[in-house]
Symmetry: C2
Subunit: 361 residues, 2 copies
C-alpha cells in the first residue's frame, strides 16, 4: 500500500528540511491527521514532537499499545497530563525554538504551556505547513480512488430505495450500512440526504422528512479507507421534473464542467472557483451559490487547498480536490454536483464514479 515506514520517514524528512528556513529546532504537531500522516498512528489523541534528530509520539494509556504497533518511526512516550508531559520533553532537550500547528492547538493548552516555558520559544505555524499533506503520493491516491469507488457504488446501490415515502433518515441508515458493507471504515463525514425544501440547506442534517414525488434529493457522502476520505455529491429528482429545476440542474452542471475543465497544475484555486461562479452568476443566481467551489481531500475530508473566492493557493500535480458548485433557493430547493479529482500534469483524473447527468428516479 506504500504505507511503509519509509514513507513516514520521507515525510518526516520533508518537515525537517523546513527547520533551517524557519529557524526552528523542531515542530510540535497536535493535528491528529498530520500525526497519522507523519507516523501512521491513528488514535484519537496524541502529540508528535519532531526534532532534527528524534521523533517522539506522546500518547495516553489508552493508546500505548496501538502507538507502539503503528508508529515504528517514533519513540513512544506516555503522558498523564498532556501539558506536563510536553513541557518535560521540551526541557529535556538543549533546544530553544519550537514551531507548532496553531490551528490545532486550543488556547487553554497554549496558555498553560507558554506560562511555563521559561526561555523556550513557541512559534505558531500556519501557512508554512498548511499544504504539507496537499500533494498526494501514488499510494495515497490509490486509497482515495478505492474510497471513491466504494462510495459511488454505495450511492448507486441506494438508488432503488429512493422512493416516495422513504425518509431521509432511512436513506442515511441504508447508505451508511452500504458504505461499510462495501469496505469503508465508516462515512468520511455525516451523510447528507436532503430532500425537498431541505435541499436548500447546503449542510442539512437528515431528519424524518419523507421524500415526495417531484422532490429534489441531494446525497452527499464519502467513504474512508485506511484513513483516506472520499467526497461526492449527487442530486437526483423523483418522478416528474419541472422546467425550472431542469434549467437549474443544467446551469450547475455546466458550472461544474467549466470548473473541472479549469483544473490543472499552475492554475490558481481562485480561478477554478471563478469559472463555476461566473456560470452561475450568468444565470443570475450568484447570491444563491453560498459556498466555495471545492476543497482538498485526504486524511481529512476538508483540507488544503481551498477552491474559493479568497483562496491564494495554486494547484499542483498530485493534489486531490473536490469540485462542487451548487445553488440553494431558500425555502424551496437546491442543487449541488460534486466530483473528487486528482490534478494530473495534463488535466484531471475524476475519482468519483456516479454519472453526473441528471438522474430522474
Amino acid at each position: 500500500m506504500g504505507h511503509e515506514q519509509n514513507s513516514y520517514c520521507n515525510r518526516q524528512t520533508r518537515v525537517r528540511s523546513m527547520f533551517p528556513v524557519l529557524g526552528l529546532d523542531g515542530i510540535i504537531f497536535f493535528d491528529l491527521r498530520t500525526i497519522r500522516y507523519l507516523t501512521g498512528f491513528s488514535g484519537s489523541d496524541g502529540v508528535l514532537l519532531l526534532w532534527a534528530d528524534r521523533t517522539i509520539l506522546f500518547v495516553d494509556g489508552r493508546y500505548q499499545e496501538q502507538a507502539a504497533r503503528q508508529a515504528d518511526s517514533a519513540e513512544i512516550r506516555l503522558y498523564e497530563d498532556k501539558v506536563t508531559g510536553l513541557l518535560g520533553a521540551l526541557s529535556d532537550e538543549g533546544k530553544q525554538n519550537f514551531g507548532f500547528d496553531a490551528s490545532s492547538l486550543s488556547v487553554d493548552l497554549y496558555l498553560s504551556m507558554t506560562q511555563r516555558l521559561g526561555e523556550k520559544k513557541l512559534t505558531p505555524l500556519g501557512e508554512e505547513i498548511r499544504l504539507l499533506r496537499a500533494i498526494k503520493e501514488d499510494a495515497e491516491i490509490d486509497l482515495m480512488r478505492k474510497a471513491a469507488a466504494v462510495s459511488s457504488e454505495s450511492v448507486l446501490s441506494l438508488f432503488p430505495s429512493i422512493r416516495p415515502g422513504v425518509s431521509e433518515r432511512e436513506l442515511v441508515a441504508e447508505l451508511g450500512y452500504l458504505l461499510r458493507k462495501n469496505g469503508s471504515d465508516g462515512p468520511s463525514f455525516p451523510i447528507i440526504a436532503a430532500s425537498g425544501e431541505n435541499s436548500a440547506l447546503p449542510h442539512a442534517a437528515p431528519g424524518g422528512r419523507r421524500i415526495q414525488k417531484g422532490d429534489i434529493l441531494i446525497i452527499d457522502c464519502g467513504a474512508i479507507l485506511e484513513g483516506y476520505c472520499s467526497d461526492e455529491t449527487v442530486t437526483v429528482v423523483l418522478g416528474s421534473l419541472d422546467p425550472e429545476k431542469k434549467q437549474a440542474y443544467a446551469v450547475v452542471r455546466e458550472a461544474h464542467q467549466e470548473a473541472l475543465d479549469a483544473v490543472r497544475p499552475g492554475v490558481s484555486c481562485r480561478d477554478v472557483d471563478g469559472k463555476a461562479r461566473e456560470r452561475i452568476e450568468r444565470a443570475g443566481w450568484g447570491q444563491f451559490f453560498s459556498h466555495g467551489t471545492g476543497h482538498g481531500v485526504g486524511l481529512d475530508v476538508h483540507e488544503a487547498p481551498r477552491l474559493s473566492v479568497r483562496s491564494d493557493e495554486v494547484l499542483e500535480e498530485g493534489m486531490v480536490v473536490t469540485v462542487e458548485p451548487g445553488v440553494y433557493f431558500p425555502g424551496k430547493w437546491g442543487i449541488r454536483i460534486e466530483d473528487m479529482v486528482v490534478v494530473r500534469h495534463d488535466g484531471i483524473e475524476i475519482l468519483s464514479r456516479v454519472p453526473k447527468e441528471l438522474k430522474v428516479l
Copy 2:
C-alpha cells in the same frame, strides 16, 4: 420537549449572571455544543456573542437559513471571514472585556484576533464555564433516556448476528443501521466492536477481524436524539468461557457496581473513580485499568465532569455520567462494562438498558 426558546433564554440568563462576578461585558462562545445549548443552533460552524443586552449568532452563508430557523433568541449575523466579522462586532460595542471558551478556540484565530483588538481585552475562560451544561434539565434527561433506550435496543437486536465468522466491521455496519432505524440521528461516536486481542485496546478501531469461538467482544456505542448523546458498553463472550475471563468479568462487574453505588449528590468524582479502581487493584490489575471510570454526557458524548483520579469535581443532582471500569491485558483481551446514569437526590437512575450480567452468545 422543553426545547422551547424560553429554555434557551433561561440558559443565557444563567451565563449573564456570571458577568459581574467575572468582570466581563460579555462572553464569546466558540464551542458548537455550547452554542447549541444556549441558542438551539445545530450547525457545524458559528460563533456566539453573549452580551448583557444582546445575543448575536455569527454564521457563514451555509447556515444563514438554518440559524434563522433555529435560533429565535439570537440576532443572526453573517461573516465571510470569522475573525474580521468578530472584530467588527466587538468594535461596534461600547464594551471592553470579553471572556471566551479557551478550550474551543484555536491559537491561530486567537492570535489573529488579539493582534487586532486594540484596547479591548480577551479573557480565557476554563473552569468558570466548564460545568455550564453539566446539570441537565428534565427535558434533556428525557432525550438522553430515549437515546439510551434506542442504543440498548439496537445492541440487543445485534446479538443474533454475533456469530463466529462475522467481522467487526460487519457488526459495526449493522449496529449503525439499527441505531438509525430505531430513531437515532447517528451514532454518538464511532462505534467500537473489538474482538479477541483487539478488545485489549480501549479505543480499538473496528476492522476486518472475524470473531471466533471463545472470543471476548466489546461493543461500545451510543445514539443521538436532538443532539443529546448516550453511551453504553457491553462485553460479551462467544461460546465457551474460560475461568480466567469469567473471573475478570466478575471483578470488573463488581468494580462497576461499587462505583454505581457510590454515585450520589455531594460525592467527589475522584471518589467514585476510587471505588472502581480499588476493586480492580485488589485483584492485582490496577495497571491494566488504563483510563478514568467515567465522564459526563450530554450534547457531547464526553463532557464535564470527569470521573478520574485527577478530577476535583463533585457530583450534583441532575448530572448525567458514565460508569465504565475496564481491564485490558495487552496482546490478550480486555473487558469493559459501562452504564450511563443520572445523579438523583437519593442515588442514581440507570439510563442504559442492556443487562450487565455476563452474556455468553
